[in-house]
């Protein structure tokens, strides 16, 4: 018996490509610049990626910020599984890793990083999880794709690309670190498949 992660990809190749590898790289570069701009040089800032794909994205952002301004921004991971509001609607989920960077998050500006912003429920869970590990001075949100259909009053501070979608469609983000060497964002299901 194997336990696939809830967000494991089921096959690739189908669907419409909305971001290619080079698009994705440009988008990450832009968000890195925006974080530097909006946080006046990213001092006192911590990047926390939400597993699975938020974590490599946060690492990439930190690498780009370092390349642009030679600042080392601490990177961590924040697993939100235990804070989800839909645990009882699905089979038990395996947990991801939570890694709080040394120095913690107290009094710092936390930028949450995730791949897709959809209902906003993941971000709500992340805010609850943050509450239990410390008290940041402020919290911001960076996402690669905002696909709309919010169910909670949540918006992102940094958006890679707004992709209008139908509820029947799904956005598949592939990152080289976790998806076997491919960087791309695809839209599948609905009319796009």
């Amino acid at each position: 018996m194997a336990y696939p992660r809830a967000d494991a990809h089921q096959g690739t190749g189908r669907g419409k490509t909305v971001l290619t590898a080079s698009d994705l790289q440009r988008v990450v570069d832009r968000i890195a610049h925006q974080i530097l701009e909006k946080t006046s040089g990213a001092t006192g800032t911590v990047l926390l990626g939400i597993p699975t794909r938020g974590v490599p994205l946060a690492r990439r952002l930190a690498t780009r910020i370092h390349a642009f301004e030679h600042i080392d921004v601490p990177v961590g991971a924040l697993d939100i599984t235990l804070y989800r509001d839909d645990l009882r609607l699905h089979a038990t989920r395996a947990l991801g890793k939570t890694e709080v960077p040394p120095g913690g998050i107290d009094g710092r500006r936390v930028v949450l990083v995730d791949d897709v912003l959809f209902s906003g429920r993941t971000v709500r869970a992340a805010l609850d999880a943050l509450n239990d590990i410390g008290r940041p001075s402020s919290v911001q949100l960076a996402v690669l794709v905002d696909r709309g259909h919010r169910e909670l009053p949540i918006r992102a501070d940094y958006v890679g690309k707004n992709i209008p979608t139908a509820l029947t469609e799904s956005v598949r983000v592939s990152l080289a670190e976790v998806d076997g060497g491919v960087d791309e964002v695809k839209l599948t299901g609905g009319d796009a498949s």
């Binding site: 336990y3 235990l82 804070y83 609607l89 089979a91 038990t92 395996a94 609850d128 239990d132 590990i133």
Partner: protein, 306 residues
Amino acid sequence: MIKHLRSAADLDADTAILILDTAAEMAALAGREVKKLPTLRGRTVVNLFYEDSTRTRISFEAAAKRLSADVINFSAKGSSVSKGESLKDTALTLQAMGADAVVIRHPASGAPHRLSSWIDGSVINAGDGTHEHPTQALLDAYTMRSRLGRLDGLNVTIVGDVLHSRVARSNVLLLSTLGAKVTLVGPPTLIPVDIAAALSPGTKVSYDLDSVLPDADVVMMLRVQTERMQDSYFPSAREYSRRYGLDLPRMRKLPEHAIVMHPGPMNRGMEIAPEVADSPRSTIVEQVANGVSARMAVLYLLLGGK
């Protein structure tokens, strides 16, 4: 995910590893200021204890509370059981109260299996007679894995009263599933004939502790159950201690990296010398802390989903 944890044999390798990985994440919580998760809010966990227990009951209680479950503690003393209520009627009462999980310790082997046929919730075996104690095996496996980095291929020596030990039985089952090689050591009167073959074919039996120590990665000392001392399984406490007790000279025969475990409560000076119990190789205190993490993992995986 499985619904009940009645036996360590309920767990295949993937499920066992999932529990150990989850326990590792739960352990990270112990270092935090707020040691609480909202995960099992609104769920009810009943601790149904027909036998005395300190660490297991408290450990389950702490685990359930850290996951925000409501905990009801039931001990047979001072309850309707002393008025003669049967396990089945108690089970039906718990069922009517809407227990999502029942953690049961019972002097009769197999009680958790019976219980699971009467109630809708999950049943977790916290020790039944001389049968099994699966969460103890999980926390032991977790402790070995975190100290030694792996389980596959480890030589684990379990020493003492195997005959009456539910800890030994669950450990043999779980450790074999996870690829460790178990050797049971003790006086012939306390190691049932054919137990190795019955539990897991790869298990070895030895009556000579000194000969197996040089190859052991883990030595797990079992408690000599003083309530059985009258039953003449061995001539005297002193003789037992001389042949099967782990003292300093014996500990020196172990490889450099080997660890010493004990499920507790221990009889210092009997099966384990105080200097050994307090040595850096001993994981006895660690096992207690790991027990909470392992039980949180079990509760989450049994109750956290649909």
